[in-house]
Amino acid sequence: MSETANSGQEPAAAPVDAGKRRRAGEGSAFWAYVLKRLGAALPVLIGVTFICFAILSAAPGDPVRILMGQHYDEEIASELRVSLGLDRPFLVQYGMFLGRVSHGDLGRSYVKNLPVAEYLAPKFGNTMQLTLVAMFIAIVFGVSAGIISAAWNRSFWDYALMLLAVAGISLPVFWLGMLLQLLFANHLGWLPVSDMSYSGNPEVLWNDVGGSYIAWLWHMSIKYYVLPGFTLATVPMAIIARLTRSSMLEVMKLDYIRQARAKGLAYPRVVVTHALRNALIPIITVVGNNFAVLLTGAVLTETVFAWPGMGRAMVEAINQLDYPVVLGGVMIMAVVFVVVNLIVDLTYGLVDPRVRYG
């Protein structure tokens, strides 16, 4: 979304009561803003599904043939086509799809013999978990690296970290994943190659680790998240580090930072409380954007680590011409994208009280 909350810079000599009046009317302005943004999201959602629908209808494959497999029979096929609405004109089909979606019905998978929502829900959950882990790693390491680079600008650590960041942006994630697997799983044997959790008996594992809850949890689940999490985190980590650095440097040039230093505040305190806080807005923007990109772009990481997520399910569905799953998945992802962007824009006000919604 290109729209962002107005970061209205208050003029220095604003009337004293302006602040009060604004606060009184803020609640309704806030909700009006939320409503306006949701309204603007609707055409985007319709557009996304329409593009997807149009491309899929232009696709030459015949889903009914796929659906029936070896037992293809012309008579049953034509009946099936009618019952699925595939014989109707394109726009009618699209209208039927929108109608169903507005009731919360994403249709039924051709291949899996399951409702799309039921099929995709667990996969979506798996991708969401991986994305949250990756985003956590990316924020912690990315923001730290950016702060270090900005605080010691033009030092050895600045150059080293920024070189790492460019390398991080340039590394193909699937190759990085393969290298990490080779080193940490195959050669060192510290971490599992793939899968999401321990496949054996949890009670046997409990006895094996000697009754330590942390060790049990580690072998049960946590260790499976380390490699895919770091792999998926690389690119956003690098982007966040670069942006934190440039945003901090921008703020550190300002007068109030010099003022804080002149007052005799310690440098670390100025960097963290004065500079970082005011450098946060662009960082939040990029975190939000990357969250959506990660959630939807985890296909490659999921493929390398055999993670049973949404991305892989979508690629599989596209190859099997399972249109309802593709459409439903695109729809879910677009909704997440819009919602995440809205949340990002709303957090601006939490971080910076000068931001007003309009």
């Binding site: 979304m1 985007v44 959602l45 593009i51 590394l171 190759w175 080779l182 440097l249 490659l300 991305g311």
Partner: protein
């Protein structure tokens, strides 16, 4: 141009990027003469050889079929893959595919982004609203998914036979990559160009051009677009890196260039299952890919520092 090169040279990391890009372009252009072996030829009995293994003329004769011109002796400096193909030659030919897709898709991105960005920024009003909503829609499309959907659509026998007849020796899958990546990566360019055009629109020289009676199209083509060149160059350089990565990703998923034709993503996808036993097969194409993308990113960073004075923060 000479000035730009001198500034790049002084920039350091930007120059490193330029050198890497230059090497990649040479590899892509002259891969035919530079490769010691055919990229697709399978030498029987020479499978899974580690880097540096030599093949004598005698062995080569035994390993090849009669009279196909593939009998040559030499060294597999980066080893062979599981089918007995020379990894080095395949990586060189992969450079051609990567650069071709990267550049052509970026040209399409730039054309679409420039058109939408200038029209939207210059005319404003409902044209702007409509075009930006369209941009939002494409931007909201989940990741590489749109590219995957487009590729899957084009991946059928009829389309393939038509495309195959016009693409000659190159894998017909490349057309799908051009289209899929060309149609998806333009949103960032469109937005930045729109912003630039909006700030340019109010400048005096545009007003002067309008006052002497220039038409809108003349103003856009001769006065607006030349002034967008700085951000456009930077964005396009970065976009090449992004498109090369996406091409590799799509080929890795088996949707782009199909084996036996050589592409870095495709090589990595088959090498993945042999990575522990024959790491060279996965290391070299991955390294080539990472370095090429790094080169374009460093070059883009350097160009931004030089061309865009607002972003003077050096990396």
């Amino acid at each position: 141009m000479r000035d730009l090169l001198r500034q790049l040279f002084r920039h350091g990391s930007g120059f490193v990027g330029l050198v890497i890009v230059f090497v990649a372009v040479v590899a892509g252009l002259f891969c035919g003469t530079l490769s010691p072996f055919s990229p697709t030829y399978q030498y029987r009995g020479q499978e899974k050889l580690p880097p540096g293994s030599a093949i004598t003329a005698d062995e080569a004769r035994q390993a090849s079929y009669a009279d196909n011109g593939q009998r040559s002796s030499g060294t597999f400096i980066w080893g062979t893959d599981s089918s007995g193909r020379d990894v080095y030659s395949r990586v060189l030919h992969g450079a051609r595919i990567s650069l071709l897709v990267g550049v052509v898709a970026t040209v399409i991105n730039v054309l679409i982004g420039l058109l939408i960005g200038t029209v939207s920024g210059y005319f404003g009003g409902w044209t702007d609203t409509l075009l930006m909503r369209l941009t939002d829609t494409f931007f909201a499309f989940p990741g590489v998914l749109l590219a995957i959907i487009i590729l899957a659509t084009l991946n059928n026998d009829e389309v393939k036979s038509v495309l195959g007849s016009i693409s000659g020796s190159i894998d017909p899958g490349i057309w799908g990559l051009f289209i899929a990546l060309g149609l998806t990566g333009w949103t960032g360019i469109a937005r930045v160009i729109r912003g630039t055009v909006i700030s340019l629109r109010e400048k005096e020289f545009i007003e002067a051009a309008r006052a002497v009676g220039c038409s809108n199209s003349r103003i856009i083509l001769l006065h607006i677009i030349p002034n967008c060149m700085a951000p456009l160059t930077v964005l396009a350089t970065m976009q090449v890196a992004y498109n090369i990565l996406s091409e590799a990703g799509l080929s890795f998923l088996g949707l782009g260039i199909q084996p036996p034709n050589a592409s870095w993503g495709g090589m990595l996808s088959t090498a993945k299952n042999y990575f522990y036993d024959m790491p060279w097969w996965g290391i070299f194409p991955g390294l080539a890919l990472a370095l090429t993308v790094l080169g374009f990113n460093l070059l883009g960073d350097g160009l931004r520092d030089i061309l865009d004075p607002r972003m003077k923060v050096r990396t």
